[in-house]
């Protein structure tokens, strides 16, 4: 057992930890890709949905968790990505990878254009503003001939992609999302981002520029969500404004991050798994499903406001404290010392 309270981690373990942080997701992804042939189609399909949910939550977490800007407008990027993919596949028939990246880029560009004015708003105003924006866009899309309203824009069947390929794309996308989240935390951009969230005045006073930090983050988030929307469109075979621009996507991201832990690296992943499993479970309760989910969300917010990650770190702190205390007791009893620490 290494000393957990050791103040100084030597260079080697830190490098190892970093390697593990980037390597482990890579390994999991490679393992999934390698074994994907052997998976049942049902598993493939469920895994795709789960991974997409996780990507959505991780991307939203970048802006709203790490960046502290509570966005209620992310559904726009799901829709933009979905439509971009459907339309490009329909009209241009470019290679799939190009189409996906292009969809993300379009979403990111639109994201930057929208964020530029929106980021002038703070706190609840930002949430209301982005929500208004999302609804204005959805209202427009519902009334725009181009989107073919409730009939939807179908991905041409000859261009459609089988579920296994969709899952592989989702695996790669999820990997990218995890790595990007890690990178953002490790890079100076992420430092500035976290600094802004923790204490905006302090960060500004230290020379951090708000827009220069938030805008790239927003663009990255929009890119990932755009590609996620594109994969959703591939999975469903069509896009409709009603579903692709649905506020539900944003709400899902909020719920997942709240359950998993807002502004943590792995919270959205854990939250996505929890929500996905919960939904599989409540699917049998039909009309009660959303009731159960909402009550769980309320209970978590009330009693564990830092989500699963908060509970986990709370537990690990308890364990660590117990270990330390035990060691201290052992030490004091072995030396027969009568001096009890004042720190107790």
């Amino acid at each position: 057992m290494t000393d957990l309270t050791a103040p100084r981690a030597s260079r080697a373990p830190r490098a190892l930890a970093r390697l593990a942080r980037y390597g482990a997701p890579l390994l999991v992804a490679v393992a999934l890709l390698a074994s994907s042939e052997g998976l049942r189609l049902a598993t493939v399909n469920q895994l795709t949905s789960l991974l997409l949910l996780a990507v959505l939550a991780m991307s939203w977490n970048l802006v709203s968790g790490f960046g502290g800007q509570f966005s209620l407008g992310h559904s726009i990027f799901v829709g933009v990505g979905g439509y971009a993919t459907a339309v490009i596949l329909d009209l241009l028939g470019l290679p799939l990878v190009v189409v996906l990246v292009l969809s993300g880029v379009i979403a990111a560009l639109i994201g930057v254009v929208l964020a530029y004015p929106m980021l002038r708003l703070r706190g609840p105003y930002f949430a209301i503003g982005t929500l208004g924006l999302a609804l204005a866009v959805q209202g427009w899309m519902l009334n725009w001939d181009f989107t073919r309203a409730s009939q939807g824009y179908s991905i041409p069947l000859d261009q459609s992609v089988d579920l296994l390929t969709v899952m592989r794309i989702a695996v790669v996308l999820a990997l990218v999302a995890v790595i990007v989240s890690q990178l953002i935390v490790d890079l100076p951009l992420g430092l500035r981002l976290l600094a802004l969230r923790d204490n905006e005045d302090g960060a500004l006073a230290l020379g951090v520029r708000r827009l220069r930090t938030l805008l790239p983050t927003w663009a990255i988030s929009a890119f990932l969500v755009g590609v996620m929307g594109a994969v959703v469109a591939l999975q469903n075979g069509q896009v409709t404004p009603q579903s692709a621009f649905s506020i539900q996507y944003t709400l899902d991201a909020v719920i997942i991050c709240v359950i998993g832990g807002l502004g943590t690296l792995y919270g959205p992943l854990i939250g996505a798994v929890a929500v996905f499993v919960l939904r599989q479970f409540t699917a049998d309760f039909a009309g009660w499903a959303s009731l159960i989910e909402a009550i769980i969300v309320i209970l978590i917010v009330r009693f564990a406001p830092d989500g699963a990650m908060g509970v986990l770190s709370g537990l690990s702190r308890l364990v660590r404290r117990a270990l330390v205390r035990r060691r201290r007791l052992e030490a004091s009893s072995s030396t027969e010392s009568t001096r009890e620490g004042v720190a107790a």
Partner: protein
Amino acid sequence: MIMTDENPAQDVLIRAAGVSRTFGGVTALSDVSFELRRGDVLGIMGPNGAGKSTLLSLLAGVRRPSTGELTVCGQDMNRSARGDAARNGVGLAHQIPKPFRQLTVRQNVEVAAQVVPRRHRAAVVHEALELTGMLAAADRPAGQLGLLELKRLELARALALDPQVVLLDEVAAGLTGADLDELITLVAAVHASGRTLVIVEHVQEVLHRLANRVLVLEWGKSLMEGTPQEVSTDPRVIEIYLGSARESDEPRRQRPPLPGDAPALLQVDGVSAGYGPITVVNDVSFTIAAGEVLAVLGANGAGKSTLARTLQGASTARTGAILLDGEPVHHRSAHQRVRAGIALVPEGRRLFGDMTVRENLELGLRSARHREPLDRVHELFPRLRELQNRAAGTLSGGEQQMVAIGRALASEPRVLIFDELSLGLAPLIVDRMLDAVERIASWGTAVILIEQNVHQALELADSVLLLRRGDVIFRGHPRDFSEEEFARAYLGISDDASS
């Protein structure tokens, strides 16, 4: 460290000429001029509200001067944007450190280091951590640090900007004994590393040991500038810190002396309080009887206001008990304590500015129908009757203080706490306020008087509680109260670092 090439023209790092700053009609800083040369350590002192923080915020580029010329490190601060100062070689360390709590110490410093060129960053971060002794704690989350470590981190963050000038805003606040010594050593090391310092400080010891010049502010104007020795012996400085004796010969005190066996109305037993990692009030005990005036004295940062807030319930006591008539009240919330009979006239008055005087007073009443207390208030301050339909926010400071006192009296308190009664008021008004305190005490109300004007407070007091950095260093009758204790508490001149 990375120094920009020396340029004799840049030897004057800060030049202020006739700098003023107003906030919506209120002048916080007026016509201040000084120069700071490379390598200087300038101390800034003055009582609360003298404009120290405003001056510092102008130097740090957080705000812009209203008029006057201010150049910092070659930059015209009348034209600078937020954060420009940080990029331009000015580092600011705050009184209450606000680190990025979720980041590690190293990351905190790295955020600041982003203003220096990429290739120097690692070196700057390392140097800042090393100089402040935080290298060992570099990987701990900032949220877990203790107070001294937080102050070190605050300094490290300022140093990571690779600044030419470091501004220190009461960094010694809350530190005692060995911790304070350590901090002073640290700041000296920062200076030795070639930085020019501006130190705003109440703890005189810090200025004595570090500053080569001290600028004293009062009422937003510069009162004098000199060496620390000159300043601390200047009668004007002593007066602004301790208040002047009253001109009038007529004794203010009208009440008979308190009988020695008066039963305790409020009993405070071993109360400690603070915020975050900081303990501001440590193990305070006293009792006060009906009609007694207890003067709570001490320098800025000694814990007087925290004590007041803890008694009233706005902050919670960490340990100890507060009993009103033998009934424990320390678990009750602020509004319940008001109903129980403990009222506070808060520092800065905290009136509801967009409401009228009448509305403010009526809010204090226990019930809408029971209006008698207001008659008493109007009897005490007849002026309030004339002002009753004016918005409280538009009144002068003295009038506002009357409303604040009236509002507290409206709840018919048995214990009334005044937090910095005379702060920011002209001497004539202070006189009137203290007269009112005497009247209130004569009605049988127990009064806890937190007051800067020591001489005048002592005139009224039945007993005195002297705080120094959160500890009670004197408790007793005013006549037993010696000038030495006084000087020690306020100016920290004859300080014993081992306390």
